[in-house]
Amino acid sequence: MRRETFGLSCQRSLSFFILGFFLLWMAAPSFAQSRPKLKIITTLFPLQEFAKAIGGEWVQADLLLPPGADPHNWEPKPSDVAKINRADIFIYCGRDMEPWVTDLLQATQSNNLRVLEVSRGMTLMEAKDHSHGTKPASSHGHGKKFDPHVWLDFSLAMNIVDRIASVISGKDPENTARYRASAEDYKAKLDILDQKYRASLSKCRHRQIILGGHSAFAYLAQRYGLKQIALYGVSPNAEPTPKKLAAVIQAVRNQGVRFIYFERLVNPKLAQVLAKEAGISTLALSDGANLTKAQLKNKTTFLDLMETNLENLRRGLECER
């Protein structure tokens, strides 16, 4: 009987606690909403997603670029300056990814603004722009080009998540614990993704990603022991030379691959020409830096994009289950 009585009062207090907690929990959002959300502006889509995942309802994370725009080539508008002036945090990747950010930041005047360059301090790979292979590694000199697509290496992406959490916490120290917890949640997802990739890409018939797009996947390739052969350099500007095209066609022929990759946000015409010449089909890869209009409509997430990438990689590289 003692047990039952204990159980009953236990239950009652438990339900009391639960109710109370519930009420508190219901009240909490309105608590958060009674103070303004942190305004965050990011240049790249993954950075936006990370910020949203970490900040939850306490932040308003917006993407500076409209869907379909190329972050490498963006020309900032006056309204962009205004947006950033009103923001609390501005997050971008790095000078090699968004060269236009320097000028943009010079134009902004805000004491409130915290700027985060997520790739700062990371050891970047050198940009592979020429068909003559990689140049020997040397110091961070002037005019040296580096490959900024770090977020496609999920371990580095996790690092980025931490940095974003730090800067958000810096602006709102009271909720540091919350932000840390959310960051860990998201990092766990990235970790799972990483393991999936590792497992899926371990045994593949081909180990070369032949891409009729720009060299965005060097970090990804390196992490999983693959090679990237791309038509354009690190930014999709320079015209590929005929020799480059011929080299890629040769690679396709030598490898005997049945698919060549293209990117939706980079003119796919050359990829299609290549595919036609070699008599094969195309598959899409996305570097995640921005979304197409359609993807935005479908509320595609960065993780979704990476999952789709994995499927297409497995198919194109003919990997075993």
């Binding site: 409209p66 869907p67 379909g68 725009a69 190329d70 508008k77 068909s131 320079a238 015209e239 590929p240 030379t241 005929p242 020799k243 480059k244 095209l245 011929a246 066609i249 040769q250 939706r264 946000l265 980079v266 003119n267 796919p268 015409k269 050359l270 299609q272 020409v273 290549l274 036609k276 010449e277 209009k293």
Partner: protein, 272 residues
């Protein structure tokens, strides 16, 4: 490295490149003489506006671009006639307006579709078989038109007033030339890209005019310069690993310099 011709994309580049460059070179003689040399560049800007308009209205961008380009070319003509502006001023006005229209429409539409812009602004290395046919038909249409109206175009370019007195329909031929130019710029741009079209409308003609002693010579030399530039340029770029368009234009520039030098050495034709 296998030979250049074993790649289908190079074969198409050579063929279409040759056709487009010769078409541009021949039209270019008229354009340069009429002080309309910048029209290729100008109409390229206008085409940008036309594409944006087409996207906004959900119509085939190529057709809209053609229509907009033709109207712009005629508009430039009207500005020259009515407002008495020189070719470069008229072109500057219309091309800036076209570009501005494009930028405004793009921001209204929210964003642009990369694919469609790529579709309209081509690359000599990314020519598909349909575009080779397009180049062939364009070349035939332009060349046949010029042959049919040859004497009249020549007279009109040389001395518009006397031409009119002699019964040449100056206004109509001006319009015909404007339409031919607009169509060549839009289609040429689709096949080989902006840089090549604007350059090939000017440089081979300018080179020919350094030494040509007659209209016939001017056309032949201009076409030859363009053809050699296209073929040599593509070949050199292939073996030296240089960008194709840039190399072609560079070769044409080199030929211009050579002919410019030749100007001082050319002896007058012997008396008969």
């Amino acid at each position: 490295m296998e030979s250049l011709l074993s790649y289908a994309f190079m074969q198409r580049a050579l063929l279409a490149g040759l056709l487009i460059s010769i078409t541009c070179a021949i039209l270019g003689v008229f354009l340069v003489l009429r002080r309309d040399a910048m029209i290729g560049h100008g109409l390229a800007h206008v085409t940008f506006g036309g594409v944006a308009l087409g996207l906004l209205l959900y119509l085939t961008p190529l057709l809209v671009a053609l229509v907009v380009a033709v109207f712009s070319a005629l508009g430039i003509l009207k500005l020259k006639e009515r407002a008495g502006l020189h070719g470069d001023t008229a072109i500057g006005i219309i091309s800036s307006l076209g570009m501005a229209l494009g930028i405004l429409l793009v921001s209204v539409a929210g964003s642009f579709n990369v694919d469609l812009f790529g579709y309209l602004f081509g690359n000599i290395l990314a020519i598909d078989p349909e575009e080779v046919w397009m180049a062939l038909i364009l070349a035939l249409v332009v060349l046949i038109t010029i042959v049919l109206f040859y004497q009249e175009f020549v007279f009109l370019t040389f001395d518009p007033e006397s031409a009119r007195t002699s019964g040449v329909r100056v206004r109509r031929l001006d319009k015909l030339l404007a339409i031919l130019t607009a169509v060549t710029v839009v289609l040429g741009m689709k096949v080989v890209g902006i840089l090549l079209v604007s350059a090939l409308l000017v440089i081979p003609a300018a080179a020919a005019l350094q030494v040509a002693r007659s209209f016939k010579e001017a056309f032949m030399i201009s076409a030859a310069v363009a053809g050699v530039s296209a073929i040599a340029g593509l070949t050199i770029s292939f073996y030296l690993d240089w960008p194709a368009s840039g190399t072609i234009v560079a070769v044409s520039g080199l030929l211009f310099l050579i002919l410019f030098q030749a100007r001082s050495y050319r002896k007058p034709a012997p008396e008969e």
